[in-house]
């Protein structure tokens, strides 16, 4: 909305000079944005649509040359039922779920405590430390996976799904802490001053005031951790190699592609099942996510 008002205020001058009315200009801007957004929607929805369609086909129909590839002519659920009955796939799903839940819990606890202490308990060097937390987020995972491989190996956790629980927070905690710092510092200082006068300890301030007030931010950070740890590909690729320890992302790749044989129907069915939990989570918590992100991001 702010974009629309800005265009109309600056566009008033230009519009009069060129002989366009303000209403006509506004109409053009609206049509333009609808057109651009429609292009983006089609672009981003085409791959998932194709994924769902392919997962509903039989392998004969997938390899058939004739017919429209965007539609499944005899939709079948056989890919899904075979995949769900597959014990490897059950392992993948279970591992993914366990790892994700553990990572969400661990990194949210760390991030909330860290963000509270960095944003509110102003100790010596807390500003520097907050900047440092932000800078760690700028180091990509593909730079860290070889050093981490040696650490994980020294701990004896190679090819063990629990190493992911140890490794994922290194990706998730900095960003969450950063978002939560922004969110916590947007809470008015009068609130915790009032609580301090009433005799609350810092712990009570955190649990009674900050966590309830900052709930949208916490949920946004949680969704972020969930997405990261559910969809992470590089680390499980590097650290896991037997199929009873794998998670969904890597499991689909290694288990359903044997050399040059691609079982496309099953691959797509696996992708649909793997994509379902994030979609469900987003659908329910979308409003929180947007509110939390914008409130946190502006206070960097």
């Amino acid at each position: 909305m702010s974009g629309a008002t800005a265009t109309s205020s600056t566009g008033a001058l230009a519009g009069r000079r060129r002989g366009f009315s303000l209403a006509a200009q506004r109409r053009w801007a609206l049509w333009g944005s609808y057109a651009a957004l429609a292009v983006f929607v089609v672009m981003f929805l085409a791959p998932p649509f194709f994924m769902v369609m392919t997962s509903l086909k039989t392998s004969a129909e997938i390899s058939a040359q004739q017919g429209n590839p965007w539609l499944a002519h005899q939709p079948t659920l056989r890919n899904f039922s075979e995949l769900i009955a597959d014990s490897n796939f059950q392992h993948f799903f279970l591992n993914s779920a366990v790892v994700t839940i553990c990572v969400v819990v661990i990194s949210m606890v760390i991030a909330v405590f860290a963000a509270f202490s960095l944003a509110r308990i102003g100790f010596w060097g807390s500003q520097l430390l907050a900047t440092g937390v932000f800078l760690t987020y700028l180091i990509p995972g593909s730079l860290l996976f070889i050093p981490l491989f040696q650490i994980v190996g020294a701990l004896g956790l190679i090819n063990n799904v629990w190493c992911l629980v140890l490794v994922y927070p290194t990706l998730a905690v900095p960003f969450c802490t950063w978002i939560m710092i922004g969110y916590f510092s947007s809470i008015p200082k009068e609130l915790d001053e009032a609580a301090l006068i009433d005799g609350a300890t810092y712990m009570q301030i955190l649990f009674r005031i900050f966590i309830p007030v900052a709930m949208p931010g916490i949920i946004a950070a949680m969704i972020f951790v969930f997405t990261v740890s559910w969809g992470q590909f590089l680390y499980p690729m590097a650290y896991l190699y037997t199929s009873n320890q794998m998670v969904l992302t890597v499991g689909i790749i290694t288990d359903l592609i044997r050399g040059d044989v691609f079982q496309w129907g099953k691959i797509m069915a696996g992708c649909v099942i793997a994509a379902a939990p994030p979609v469900i989570v987003y659908a329910f918590l979308m409003d929180y996510y947007i509110a939390g992100l914008t409130a946190g991001a502006t206070k960097a």
């Binding site: 702010s2 974009g3 800005a6 265009t7 205020s9 600056t10 800078l135 700028l138 180091i139 990509p140 995972g141 593909s142 730079l143 996976f145 070889i146 050093p147 491989f149 040696q150 590909f233 590089l234 690729m237 590097a238 790749i253 991001a297 502006t298 960097a300």
Partner: protein, 94 residues
């Protein structure tokens, strides 16, 4: 839009640009799944090449140095973007 909205959003935009730059530069998943380094190592980027050298061929030091090559490039970009951001937020505060 060009005189009010975009200048006010400059900080956010530049941080977003920095993040997407880093994520794209250090991407692994898409290259790995599509070509895995491809015909005769033609489509490797730093991340996949580090993976191929370091873990699949077992030469961990060489792989680590390949991925460390990303660091100076990204650090220079991050330095300039973040310097611009801090300078602008000081201007707003002053």
């Amino acid at each position: 839009m060009f005189f009010v909205t975009l200048p006010m959003m400059r900080n956010i935009i530049s941080i977003t640009v920095l993040f997407s730059l880093i994520v794209t530069f250090a991407d692994f998943d898409i290259v790995r799944i599509l070509t895995a380094g491809g015909p005769q190592d033609m489509t490797h980027i730093f991340a996949t090449y580090a993976f191929a050298v370091g873990l699949q061929s077992g030469d961990i030091p060489l792989g680590a140095s390949v991925s460390l090559f990303m660091l100076p490039i990204l650090a220079v970009c991050a330095y300039f973007v973040l310097r611009g951001v801090t300078r602008r937020s000081k201007e707003i505060a002053a």
